[in-house]
């Protein structure tokens, strides 16, 4: 007797107090892929459109998608060239100006060390976007490879992997971060990213597993198998393209939460280290001063919220576009 189908409710994650620890939404799992060839939508030419072009057709008209995509584009640009909109140096600080408010040339005021908040907020985008994108790529890659192998081959592979994900799920993310990252001395972003990948992959592997199981039962896969297609070919050509949508959706949403997780790790003293400039570092060092100098917290926290928001909304609208039932 195979595992009950509902056991693949992949998208559940430890929701730590970190808040950011939730790596995905169960919603994504409700995604169901229409069998190919079903009368989905047909383009003006009468030629059947693929799900992807169909989704793209929808997305182009979705204001939420356009706005969030523009925000993300903007973030990416200032991550690459922060000097475009900030002329200062984020590491140049004058303690004499500590906690001072907004003044000409320094619209966001100064932080507790007397550094310019505006400059630091602009420069912090690079770190946060790097952490978010790299951690998501790592999680998506590792999780979907392991998950699809488990889903495709089933049996012992599957049982082992499912239990392994249980092991990782059992350990609260914030706890894992405290323990693992407290031994790291490097001041680059890589240990933090590595940690997120290590504790984040089970999430996506469950989703990938679930959607591969669904996809492999489709008639066309059975047909390809009957025609003697190899495992590799089956997985790469037939199953993967049809199972990748939920992974993309969850990954986009998870991206936002990784950025937020970085801040929580900094709050616990195990996140990124200076001279790296990041929103997480600034938010956590400003949070005790919330009473006296709220502006120090407001700007980096606002930037972080907007970024997370943009990624989640992007993920949302992609999901809606990919889900024929919600049309």
């Amino acid at each position: 007797m195979p595992e009950p189908q509902y056991d693949d409710r992949g998208a559940i994650a430890p929701t730590g107090a970190g808040g950011a620890t939730d790596l995905a939404l169960s919603e994504a799992e409700t995604l169901e892929r229409p069998p190919p060839g079903s009368p989905l939508g047909t383009g003006p030419s009468g030629k059947p459109r693929s799900l992807w072009s169909d989704a793209w057709h929808d997305l182009r008209r979705d204001p939420v998608f356009i706005v969030s995509a523009l925000v993300i584009l903007f973030l990416v640009i200032i991550s690459i060239w922060p000097s475009l909109i900030a002329s200062g140096n984020p590491l140049q600080c004058d303690l004499a100006k500590a906690q001072e408010g907004s003044q000409p040339g320094h619209p966001f005021g100064f932080n507790g060390q007397g550094c310019d908040v505006y400059t630091r907020t602009v420069y912090g985008a690079r770190t946060s976007v790097t952490v978010g994108v790299c951690a998501t790529l790592g999680v998506a890659l590792l999780g979907s490879v392991l998950g699809s192998l488990a889903g495709f081959f089933g049996g012992g592979w599957d049982a082992t992997l499912s239990r392994l994900t249980d092991v990782f799920f059992g350990i609260p993310v914030v706890l894992g971060g405290l323990v693992l990252l407290s031994v790291v001395t490097s001041d680059t972003v890589w240990p933090v990213i590595g940690f997120m990948v290590l504790l984040g992959w089970p999430q996506l592997s469950r989703i990938a597993r679930g959607s591969v199981i669904t996809a492999k039962q489709n008639d066309y896969v059975q047909a390809a198998r009957a025609l003697g297609a190899s495992h590799t070919r089956l997985l790469l050509r037939h199953i993967a393209p049809n199972a990748v949508a939920p992974v993309i959706v969850v990954a986009t949403i998870a991206l936002g939460t990784y950025i937020s997780l970085e801040a929580t790790l900094s709050y616990l003293g195990v996140g990124l280290k200076p001279p790296t400039v990041s929103w997480g570092i600034d938010i956590s060092s400003a949070s005790p001063y919330i009473r006296n100098a709220p502006h120090m917290l407001l700007w980096p926290a606002g930037a972080l919220a907007v970024t997370v928001l943009a990624f989640i909304m992007l993920g949302d609208s992609v999901r809606d576009a990919l889900d024929p039932k919600l049309r």
Binding site: A96, L181, S182, T185, P288
Partner: protein, 542 residues
């Protein structure tokens, strides 16, 4: 379908139960306990609450309330005054004869005798009892037998301790130590009742001592209730009904509880609240010098830091730090820029000298830049100041020190903080000599002697010489000073040794730390002693 109904009802039932419970819970809380009782912030002690096993402030608070030793440091002047000691006599600074005052008892009625001390000290020194502070007994003859560095102990009691009467005992030291009696105010030298040895776990659950307070109840990890002991024979009786020590998860939540009127005393005002502490508390805020100095130590085992030009380099770094500005801005004057390697609480007589460091501690960016260049530049082109991020708010000042150095050198990547997640890991890396640059070093005195600020920190292979600094001239001067029987001359010789530390800039002195506390309008006469502990017994409750 029936299933759904059931599920729905379950949800409702849970909801109702929770609401009912939430309403019911309200009645039981509130009420500040018996009148005249002070509620004070506390942290969970890291070690078992035995006198020779307690080496941090939180456990120290309790010991200070429930124990009195032979000597007690004056809460104001830090002078070591006789408490249980009637007299301590010596002719050669090696053999001491101690007489214990008559009339003292433990709170369970058992008299405090010479044996109470000797047994306690033997217990504290013995290796088999795993006492963290055993080394305090290291000057007593026979310590090596009960606490060998390797192998099994050869004896269970120290040969240097002899009970000679009900209230008299003698102590023989292994070397001349003229000021030894003044170290006896430290908690590790407290007497212990028989109950401690006969029913050890019972004692730990509810400690019994001979101080002005007795332990009424102890809920580990959350609260300890201490009540004034009416039969206390000493002169420093409690002026309040008792003290409830409440464990807080961090000092910020304790402070907010104080401002909300739920707590009477916080003895550690978080740095982030210092800007508004006057507005919150008015004059119910105290800021008193304490015997604590913060320094930056260097890893002398790393060849990059142990160079001939090293002293210049370190002096240059010292001069690149704007101590005035950092203590003003980050610490809101709860720290004072350091002028030597001791503490103002020692007083000029005790060896404090605010001119000793001189220029080497003055901020001068141009000079700093020159000295660092002459000293061969920063090893590897940059500094990493290592600290632990779990206790205290070290990040703020480390970042500020780094910014000050960066600004002085005109290089925004010259210096950066390097945080280590836990204190235990930080200490463990230091002990294993894994530091590659300067690291945070704080020293809180055990007893108010200049010796305590120099010998444990800079003497070759001393217990807190974390940087493994070694200087023959310094060692020789310290040996001389210890053997000196005239206290004034001893202090003088120690200061000579301190000048060696300055010339070599063995460690960069940063600032003297004050104790800071805030309290509620309910209580008055709040003071902090030179060890930054509140003087609980003098607090009055209105």
């Amino acid at each position: 379908m029936r299933g759904a109904m059931r599920a729905g009802w379950t949800v409702c039932a849970v909801a109702v139960a929770l609401t009912a419970a939430a309403c019911g819970g309200g009645g039981s809380s509130g009420g500040s306990g018996a009148s005249g009782v002070v509620s004070a912030s506390w942290g969970d002690p890291a070690n078992p609450l035995e006198p020779a096993n307690t080496n941090e402030v939180q456990g120290g608070k309790v010991l200070d309330m429930i124990f009195r030793g032979l000597k007690r440091y004056d809460p104001k002047t830090a002078e070591a005054k006789d408490m249980l000691a009637e007299k301590i006599e010596t002719s050669d600074s090696v053999d001491f004869a101690v007489t214990v005052k008559d009339g003292w008892t433990f709170s369970n009625g058992e008299p405090v005798t010479a044996a109470s001390f000797v047994d306690a000290w033997n217990y504290g020194a013995a290796l088999r009892n795993n006492q963290r502070n055993a080394y305090f007994f290291g000057y007593i003859e026979g310590y090596a037998d009960v606490h060998p560095d390797t192998g099994e102990p050869k004896a269970t009691t120290m040969s240097g301790l002899k009970v000679t009467g009900a209230r008299t005992f003698t102590v023989r030291l292994t070397q001349k130590f003229s000021t030894w009696p003044e170290t006896l105010g430290y908690a590790a030298f407290a007497p212990l009742p028989r109950a401690f040895f006969d029913d050890h776990s019972g004692w730990l659950a509810k400690p019994i001592g001979n101080g002005p307070y007795l332990v009424d109840s102890y809920a580990r990890g959350s609260q300890m209730s201490l009540r004034a002991w009416s039969g206390y024979p000493g002169p420093d009786k409690a002026r309040n009904g008792g003290v409830d020590l409440r464990v807080y998860t961090d000092n910020n939540s304790a402070y907010t509880d104080l401002t909300a009127g739920n707590l009477d005393l916080v003895d550690d005002v978080p740095a982030a609240q210092l800007r508004n502490v006057r507005a919150d508390l008015g004059d119910r805020y105290i800021n008193t010098p304490a015997g604590i100095i913060q320094t930056l130590a260097f890893p002398y085992y790393d060849t990059a830091w142990n160079t001939p030009g090293g002293a210049r380099l370190r002096t240059g770094i010292s001069r690149a730090i704007n101590r005035e500005q950092i203590t003003d801005t980050i610490f809101q004057r709860t720290r004072t820029p350091a002028k030597d390697w001791t503490s103002p609480v020692l007083g000029a007589e005790g060896g404090f000298d605010d001119t000793l460091c001189g220029d080497a501690c003055d901020y001068d960016p141009a000079e700093a830049k020159k000295l660092i260049a002459e000293g061969g530049g920063l090893p590897g082109g940059g500094l990493k100041i290592t600290y632990n991020s779990d206790t205290g708010s070290h990040k703020d000042w480390v970042d500020a020190v780094c910014n000050s150095i960066n600004n002085a050198l005109g290089d925004d990547r010259a210096c950066a903080g390097n945080s280590i997640g836990t204190f235990a890991d930080f200490r463990s890396q230091i002990t294993q000599s894994k530091m590659s640059g300067p690291f945070r070093a704080g020293w809180q005195m055990d007893y108010p002697l200049i010796q305590n600020f120099l010998q444990p920190l800079y003497y070759t292979n001393a217990s807190s010489n974390d940087g493994k600094w070694s200087n023959q001239e310094f060692d020789k001067l310290v040996d001389q000073a210890n053997a000196e029987s005239d206290p004034a001359k001893a202090v003088d010789t120690f200061q000579q040794a301190e000048r060696v530390v300055r010339d070599q800039m063995a460690a960069i002195p940063l600032w003297y730390q004050n104790g800071s506390a805030g309290y509620s309008p309910r209580i008055s006469d709040v003071a902090l002693n030179p060890f930054s502990l509140p003087v609980y017994n003098e607090i009055k409750v209105s």
